[in-house]
Amino acid sequence: MHELALSSAIVATVEKHAAGRRVSLVTLRVGRLRQVVPETLEFYFEFVARGSVCEGARLEHELVEARLQCNLCATEWSIDVPAFRCPSCGDGGVSVIGGNEFQVESIEVEEAECIAPR
């Protein structure tokens, strides 16, 4: 459900960078630790984008794996189930070094052709 609010956040972020140009593609980086359902996001994005520079734009996403590092023994590992204790030393002090992203990575904008005199 929060995909509606997240879609609005995407449109607002894109508007800042589009500088009024029409946007044809928005590429996101979505960390696996976010509870974002990409299909739901696309559905709301289409709706929220209407009337903005993002109207009709495609939304693509790249999933970023959840990568952790132990603060004690510096072991690095990836998870695909929520098990956050260090597999090497068992400590609970762990930093998330990847997987929390919810980023607009890039946008593709339409530019008017420069009509240079020949």
Binding site: H2, S24, E105, S106, E111, E113
Partner: protein, 226 residues
């Protein structure tokens, strides 16, 4: 017409976090400690608030009630004679399922901050969305009830990670349930190692003293730090 790729690399929730920081500054300036109080619907947030809101010596509590619709919870708390402000998230086409920094910001003018030391923001009942949005709080507390099942931390890891305290509520019901408390505690530890947790019953009052002391420590500690 041709197409150009523009590299952005910006967190889409930065705008929310900026507003959350502004809220935090306003609260700090007024000397108000803020808690973001979250759980699934029916886990017992309002009852846990009722248990402590008017019994924290020297700490004046205020409540910001977030609900999709209505003021049932605010009405319940009104009997405690503390400042309660209702914030409805229904903005026209279906209510939002969480509070965000901007919604809380819009409620600040209605809050008598000079009469409040500890503001408890009761978020919309939901285990998914509130975890994504900071509101300018000092600490986040979540409630999980033993009626919800042992596997909830594994199903909603973001929420169980997005908090500094987990209250395990309704423990008075344990004798009547096929519920494995050790399994729940193990799952919480898997998802959020070493997070502080308390076993409480808002019905019998068991564990409520510890919850009250935690709030007192937070509110007083914040004042000392300020």
């Amino acid at each position: 017409m041709h197409r150009t790729k523009v590299t952005v690399v910006e967190e889409a929730l930065d705008a929310n976090n900026t507003i959350a920081s502004a809220n935090r500054m306003d609260f700090d300036r007024a000397g108000v400690t803020v808690i973001n109080f979250m759980s699934a619907p029916g886990a017992g947030k309002t009852t846990l608030l009722e248990r402590v809101a008017s019994s924290l010596p020297g700490v004046r509590v205020g409540v910001l009630e977030g609900d999709v619709q209505g003021s049932l919870d605010a009405d319940r708390l009104a009997g405690l004679h503390i400042p309660v402000v209702q914030l409805n998230t229904d903005s026209g086409f279906g209510g939002e399922c969480h509070l965000d920094a901007n919604m809380v910001r819009s409620a600040i003018p209605a809050l008598p901050l000079e009469e409040i030391d500890l503001l408890i923001v009761e978020n919309v009942g939901n285990l998914v969305c509130p975890a994504e949005f900071r509101i300018g709080e000092d600490a986040r507390v979540m409630v999980t009830a033993v009626t919800e099942g042992e596997d909830k931390p594994l199903k909603y890891p973001l929420m169980f990670r997005a908090c500094e305290l987990v209250l395990v509520n309704k423990i008075d019901l344990l004798p009547h349930l096929d519920f494995d408390l050790d399994s729940l505690l193990y799952n919480i530890d898997q998802v959020h190692p070493d997070v502080e947790r308390m076993l409480v019953s808002s019905r019998t009052g068991e564990g409520i003293d510890a919850w009250r002391e935690w709030l007192l420590r937070l509110a007083v500690g914040d004042q000392v730090a300020a």
